[in-house]
């Protein structure tokens, strides 16, 4: 068995083992459903109530992706601005770090105040949460471009735009895609938080209502949906990352393809 296959096998075994252990512990200690439902119960609940859960899952996914798309637009724009010169980078970086360390949950009530409860504050929260990793990475990628690579272009009397599009941007791609993986999960967190606080749709809202009526298996079913969606988005963007920026990873398989 090659090492990579073995690693995948081990990860899968660990995940399955985790759920089996959970199931066994619940049975062994006679833990009540209302405290911690067994995984099998959660799956059953999920299957039975799928028609009711599904629209909420779609709503959450939709909100996340819209927020994420806006976050990418804003993030690339701001990142390009900040990374455009060494000076801008040095000046703006502390502010950026300051902003990104604010607990962004705190902005949800403000958005609700401005836009009312519903989808809009959720989209905006998703965007706010995912924009910072993108800005920081794009700016860093641009600002740390090797001057030697720019010299190649400058010796050809290339315009600023040519330098940006032929050196700055390609060189920043690995940073950008690495940030997308993180950003998409952040957007997801933002959506769910906003839905929990101020929305009548989405998985966050579903879990909120379920927990206030002590429907614990449904709460966990929501959690499972969130986990699956989160992992799926992460996987999609890491896949894109490897495809687009393979040169930065220098994998042998890329060399073949």
């Amino acid at each position: 068995m090659n090492p990579q296959l073995r690693r995948r096998f081990a990860s899968a075994a660990l995940i399955i083992g985790f759920f089996v252990a959970w199931e066994l512990l619940c049975v062994a200690f006679g833990i009540k459903d209302i405290v911690l439902p067994r995984p099998s119960q959660i799956v059953v609940t999920l299957a039975q109530r799928m028609p009711a859960i599904w629209p909420h899952a779609l709503q959450t996914l939709y909100t996340t992706l819209v927020g994420f798309a806006l976050g990418i637009l804003a993030g690339v724009f701001l990142g390009a601005l900040v990374g455009s010169s060494k000076l801008a980078y040095d000046v703006a970086y502390p502010l950026l770090v300051g902003f990104s360390s604010i607990p962004k949950v705190a902005v949800v009530p403000i958005f609700v105040l401005w836009f009312g409860a519903g989808t809009i504050p959720a989209v905006l929260t998703a965007m706010i949460l995912c924009v910072f990793p993108i800005v920081v990475n794009v700016a860093t990628g641009l600002a740390t471009t090797e001057p030697e690579l720019e010299d190649v272009m400058r010796a050809l009397k290339a315009s600023k735009f040519d330098i940006l599009s032929n050196v700055g941007l390609p060189r920043t791609m690995p940073y950008f895609f690495a940030s997308l993986k993180v950003a998409v999960t952040q957007a997801f967190v933002g959506t769910v938080i906003a839905e929990t606080v101020a929305s009548n749709r989405g998985i966050g809202n579903l879990m909120m209502i379920a927990s206030s009526s002590f429907d614990v298996p449904l709460v966990f079913a929501g959690l499972l949906i969130l986990a699956v969606l989160g992992v799926a988005l992460y996987v999609v963007f890491s896949f894109i990352e490897v495809r687009v920026t393979g040169w930065a990873h220098r994998k042998d398989e890329f060399a073949m393809g």
Binding site: E148, V152, A155, A158, N166, P170, R250
Partner: protein, 277 residues
């Protein structure tokens, strides 16, 4: 400071000219004076080699002529105009290969065609046909046939250097700046590339400024050799190389050739204090 009577002018038959150029890197106590009041004049279509001890400012001269850095004082003219204003096609091979890691060799070599006029107007139309063939032919000429689709990190240092040489040549520059382009190559490949370089110069007649540590290479390729001294960096001597072209490797065993390289060697090795008048 005294204002000059008239603004500096380029010498009539100089294609590249440095007038009292001084260059200082860094500021304050980190200041490094790389070049001190250097004059250099290169005629159109000439082939000049620049030799000298490590750190004497050879790469600095190339960067000044291509406009990558600005002289601290003095003026650099290219084609009769102050550098960066001139509409001259420049090809430069850097001391490090500096290939773009996200592009294949072919795309790396094709880069100047994408940027430089008049090729850039035709780039979209020809990049899969004429330009592609031209790049592949050039790569084949330096022994890189079949490597066009590889990425730079899949190549050895010498292979990257040869690709970087192709990138400097592909757009048929009028001015060619070569910073130790054959440094990382074995003796045989190097001698083969000297031959190719000479042929290229004889057919297209670009103006070439070649930096090298190999005195044999300088004597084989150049029409004139400028010897530099370090700290402060400046040109201390120029020798005209009169051998008829095309020159061959056999020439390098000629007594006159050997005398020339030996004389250059002594000039470079001599401690700086002896050369100060």
């Amino acid at each position: 400071m005294l204002a000059p009577a008239s603004s500096p002018r380029a010498h009539a038959d100089a294609f590249v000219e440095l007038q009292k150029v001084t260059h200082t890197y860094g500021r304050g106590d980190k200041e490094v004076r790389a070049l001190e009041s250097t004059d250099l004049r290169i005629e159109k279509g000439d082939f000049i080699a620049l030799v000298g001890p490590s750190g004497c400012g050879k790469s600095t001269i190339l960067k000044l002529v291509t406009g990558l850095i600005n002289a601290s004082s003095g003026v650099v003219f290219v084609a009769g105009r102050e550098v960066t204003a001139e509409p001259v096609r420049v090809g430069m091979a850097f001391q490090n290969p500096t290939l773009l890691p996200w592009l294949t060799l072919r795309d790396n070599v094709m880069l100047p065609l994408k940027i430089v006029a008049p090729f850039r107007q035709e780039y979209r139309a020809k990049r899969r046909s004429e330009f592609r063939d031209r790049v592949d032919a050039l790569l084949a000429q330096v022994g890189l046939a079949g490597f066009a689709d590889k990425y730079p990190w899949q190549l050895s240092g010498g292979m990257m250097q040869r690709a970087s040489l192709c990138r400097a040549l592909v757009h048929e520059p009028q001015l060619l700046m070569l910073d130790e382009p054959f440094g990382a190559l074995d003796q045989f490949t190097r001698e083969e590339l000297w031959g190719i370089m000479q042929e290229l110069w004889m057919t297209r007649r670009p103006t070439v400024l070649l930096v090298t540590h190999d005195l044999k290479e300088a004597a084989y390729l150049a029409n004139r050799i400028c010897v530099m001294q370090a700290r402060p960096g400046r040109i201390i001597q120029e020798s005209v190389v009169g051998f008829a072209r095309p020159r061959t490797i056999a020439l390098s065993y000629d007594p006159e050739f050997v005398t020339l390289t030996q004389r250059l060697r002594e000039l470079i090795m001599r401690p700086a204090k002896e050369t100060v008048q």
